[in-house]
Amino acid sequence: MANPPIAMLAELTHRCPLSCPYCSNPVELTARDTELSTAEWVSVFQQAADLGVLQLHLSGGEPASRRDLEELVKAARDAGLYTNLITSGIGLTEKRLAALDAAGLDHIQLSLQGTDAEMADRIGGYKGGFARKMQVAQWIAAIGFPLTLNFVMHRGNMHQLPRAIDMAQEMGARRIEVATVQFHGWAMLNRGALMPDRAQAREASRIVAEARAALKGRLVIDYVPADYHADYPKTCMGGWATTGLNVAPDGLVLPCHAAQTIKTLTFDTVRTRPLAEIWHEGAAFNAFRGTDWMQEPCRSCERKTIDFGGCRCQAMAIAGDPAATDPVCVKSPHHARMRALAEDFAGQSDADLTWRVMEKTSE
């Protein structure tokens, strides 16, 4: 039997006031009227804790778009879960933050689309969003919530990285996550506008390494480098179905947030099947668990239990086969094409952005 998961990402809703062009939600968004109810989420949290989940990430969309967020946090804490709110800050008020504090919220991860209003509001597609976020950061600090600032980085805002690191310190954050956009979901539509070039990607890595040394013990920096320019793939999800799971707004249980791009997989929902059974026996979870599913060059590779062949969704997207080696890998027969793609996208200086939109009828 598989080890139980450590972490669960609960995508409470796909609704969001922002429309970031790299949103990790699927391009086909889930409508409000199909979202799990409060009681259904509470049951999922209890089942997750019973299964062995320790860390609960409350995300979306914008989780604050759920009016029952405070109630959900309390239920998650009562279930014994560590509760992390992943938010843009929009929709949080001083009063709601106080209620979240009372409910036992453990930690907040605040997203940053840019280090000034011009950049942040353009990327987020929401005028006034940056000013509001800065206000929310002050309220978070006043209450004393531990804070992680999450700077989502791409070709258009990479030059703002040093300022983002300064901002994290000014906000009193203990951590900053410097996350280069991963190309799934909406970001796939925007590779031409968002892909950093190699020199930029290297410069970001240099800045991170320097800041890590200079800020040791004061600010922890988690870094997600520009994957398309790497030689070895990321250890996606820490290995498929080993560590974490996602629950979509309508209750579908996914091994990762982009798993629905693999059309050959079938997914179960918490509405009809217990979470533990889905984790251990669900077809999508067992599809790429362990190493038996691997092809060459993964099968005989000494790194196969280090990176587990990389990202299944990226293998699907670039190689057309979810069981192929992640084309980021130098050993992949698609690696040269991947590199050429990265350079081509990075060079599309006039590419337009496609912002995330939700069908009006589904709001």
């Binding site: 139980p4 450590i6 019973d50 299964l51 062995g52 320790l54 860390q55 990430h57 014994g80 560590y82 992390n84 453990d106 930690h107 991860q109 004393g144 919530f145 531990p146 992680t148 203990r174 951590r175 040791k216 013990g217 004061r218 600010l219 922890v220």
Partner: protein, 90 residues
């Protein structure tokens, strides 16, 4: 870490008994650190009141171990946590 330093777990970092895996973990922002019995013995004495000197003396007495060894190992363990912002010292 000096004997009169007082370590504490900051808000958002807490000891948790993992009833599924039947062992202790330190829960922190987006991290869960599995604790061996020694790590747990140290952290269960980190209460924001006891000094480092007092808690290592207690550990040495409890486990019948040389104080110098206990102090050295505990300092190293706690410094590792402090570097990750999982521990603060007054």
């Amino acid at each position: 870490m000096t004997p009169d330093a007082i370590p504490h777990l900051p808000r958002g970092v807490r000891l948790h008994y993992d009833r599924v895996r039947q062992d202790w973990v330190l829960l922190a922002p987006e991290r869960a650190v599995r604790l061996d019995p020694i790590g747990h013995a140290i952290l269960s004495r980190v209460d924001g009141v006891q000094s480092f000197g007092a808690l290592t003396a207690d550990l040495a007495a409890t486990f019948n171990a040389p104080l110098d060894d206990v102090a050295r190992d505990s300092a190293e363990f706690l410094a590792g946590l402090a570097e990750r912002r999982f521990l603060e010292v007054r």
